[in-house]
């Protein structure tokens, strides 16, 4: 029965994942060669994630909690495909989009319009999809007539609003959010929150990293706490927040 298995199938499967960063001490052929001659180590390693198992189902909104350096961004990058795990498996079903550092693909010398097209394409949209969504993107960003101005003349608020608006209007099944919801001024934040709620209501899968615990507990039903690369709690979001507060770095 494909129908029921479809409905039951998870969106993200993370199994036994380990991510090891290699910190290189050499940055040129010469240094590497000298280190090799002297039998010195050219790199040391650092386990950013270790033995991680997480399954996220369809329509779930999961908050990822943990102190700085615990490996949250690394985990999201593994799901988006920017990084690959050194052990274990990461699998996703459907289109993945990331609100990870919005505006990474913006070019200051291009107009807002050009940047919308470029960035939406970078985020995986086709020309037809962008054409269809363009007005909505501009409307949401409140950029108005400045859309044909070069982006370098934008205020930082305008820039962030446009970048965020592009990202949130892409087509996706899974949305990864890494500490970007605190953008823009209060009214715009309000609007973003409403949009996020709308996404949750429409059964999109959300994986959110934020320091705003109030917002996490409001949006998510499930919370996962990561400490030094290991999962220490996975369950209802309020208990997760309590677990985070109880844990020390």
């Amino acid at each position: 029965m494909p129908k029921t298995s479809e409905a039951e199938a998870p969106r993200i499967i993370i199994e036994g994942v380990r991510k090891t960063y290699r910190l290189r001490h050499t940055h040129s052929f010469k240094e590497t060669f000298v280190a090799w001659l002297r039998k010195k180590q050219t790199a040391s390693t650092f386990e950013a994630l270790e033995g991680l198992d997480i399954t996220v189902g369809e329509g779930e909104a999961v908050g990822l909690l943990g102190y700085n350096g615990s490996g949250k961004s690394t985990l999201l990058k593994l799901v988006s495909g920017v990084l690959r795990p050194d052990a274990g498996t990461v699998l996703t079903r459907g289109r993945v989009a990331g609100l990870i550092e919005v505006g990474a693909g913006f070019h200051p010398d291009l107009s807002g319009r050009e940047n919308v097209y470029l960035n939406a394409a970078i985020l995986g949209m086709s020309k037809e999809e962008i054409d269809a969504k363009f007005d909505e993107i501009v409307e949401f960003s409140e950029i108005g007539e400045f859309i044909d101005t070069e982006v370098k003349h934008y205020s930082s608020g305008m820039f962030v609003r446009l970048a965020f608006s592009v990202a949130i209007h892409t087509q996706f099944d899974i949305l990864l959010v890494d500490e970007v919801l605190a953008v823009g001024d209060a009214p715009f934040r309000e609007k973003c929150n409403a949009k996020i709620h709308e996404l949750v209501a429409s059964d999109k899968t959300l994986f959110i990293v934020s320091h705003d615990l109030g917002m996490i507990s409001e949006i998510c039903d499930r919370g996962i706490v990561i400490k030094r690369g290991r999962k220490i709690f996975d369950g209802p979001v309020d208990e997760a927040i309590a677990a985070l507060k109880a844990s020390k770095r």
């Binding site: 988006s80 920017v82 690959r84 990474a104 070019h107 010398d109 291009l110 985020l123």
Partner: protein, 298 residues
């Protein structure tokens, strides 16, 4: 049978029916670029729009630079060193070779730096990373077009009547150069992420490129001076074949007297194309081996 597992309750989701799942961050290399055609087009457009941004002359620079380069080579090689005595219509000879090497240098040089230049994107969003060097090669090709059009105009003025064979040769030359530059660009560009020596090494290679192919002199001068094996090696350089294809297409038909041409130029061109394709495959192979580290090492 996944269903059985579900009934047993062994797994919440029914074990390994994973056909609907994808492994994030694993692409099909250069082939992926075809499914990202639209993005490739926008990246090329961005490169072209922002190239001369904020300059008054703008695209005129694409004409000024090769003209200045041509003038210097013509004065030094042709007038001061008297090379033009041995070569008919030396200015046309010179220019038709220079544009080929310029295309190669621009494409290879930019492709080498493309991953590092697109750091912000590579670190944050997954895209087939081959897009960046390939977009740079396309951009180099667009900047080659003004030079090519000057060459064509000059040739037409001095009485060039193009034939299908000339045009086929010129197209083949461009294909050889573009494939070679893409392959080498991916190779040195992926190494460049960890070792910036790579881009310095490439600058050195580019310095040699003008002199190790018959751009400023005739191939006969090499043939008469060096041992046969070295000359064979010289002629096996894909750039030599590309430059000679351009000479045969643009310069040779415009001169009055006879001039020596390399034996079996089409054979050389075939070899050059094969070498370029192998280079592309090697470049792609190394690129894929190193790609997994791009985002964390940048």
């Amino acid at each position: 049978m996944p269903e059985a597992f579900r009934i047993d309750g062994m797994s919440q989701y029914g074990l390994p029916d994973r056909s609907a799942f994808a492994v994030p961050g694993v692409g099909r290399g250069v082939l992926d670029v075809f499914s990202y055609r639209y993005l490739l087009r926008l990246l090329v457009r961005k490169g072209i729009l922002t190239r001369y941004h904020g300059s008054v002359l703008g695209w005129a620079w694409s004409y000024v630079k090769p003209a200045a380069q041509f003038l210097i080579y013509y004065l030094v090689m042709g007038v001061f060193l008297n090379l033009n005595r041995g070569i008919d219509a030396f200015p046309v000879y010179l220019f038709s070779g220079i544009v080929v090497v310029n295309l190669f240098n621009e494409a290879f040089g930019n492709a080498t730096k493309s991953i590092v230049n697109n750091k912000a994107l590579v670190k944050k969003i997954y895209l087939p990373r081959e897009l960046f060097p390939i977009a740079d090669v396309f951009i180099a090709f667009v900047h080659f077009l003004p030079q090519l059009s000057i060459l064509i105009v000059v040739c037409l003025v001095v009485g060039w009547v193009p034939t299908v064979l000339h045009l086929a040769g010129a197209l083949l030359a461009m294909l050889i150069v573009l494939l070679l530059a893409t392959g080498l660009g991916m190779l040195f560009g992926s190494v460049n992420v960890s070792f910036r020596d790579s881009q310095n090494l490439v600058e050195l290679i580019l310095l040699f490129a003008t002199w190790t192919s018959p751009v400023l002199y005739s191939f006969t001068m090499v043939r008469d001076k060096v041992p046969t094996w070295l000359f064979d090696l010289y002629m096996a350089n894909p750039l030599t074949a590309a430059v000679e294809l351009f000479h045969s297409a643009f310069w040779y038909p415009t001169i009055a007297g006879p001039a020596e041409r390399p034996e079996n130029l089409w054979g050389l061109a075939g070899l050059a194309l094969a070498i370029s394709i192998v280079t592309l495959l090697v470049g792609q192979f190394v690129f894929r081996r190193l790609e997994g580290r791009f985002a964390q090492d940048l």
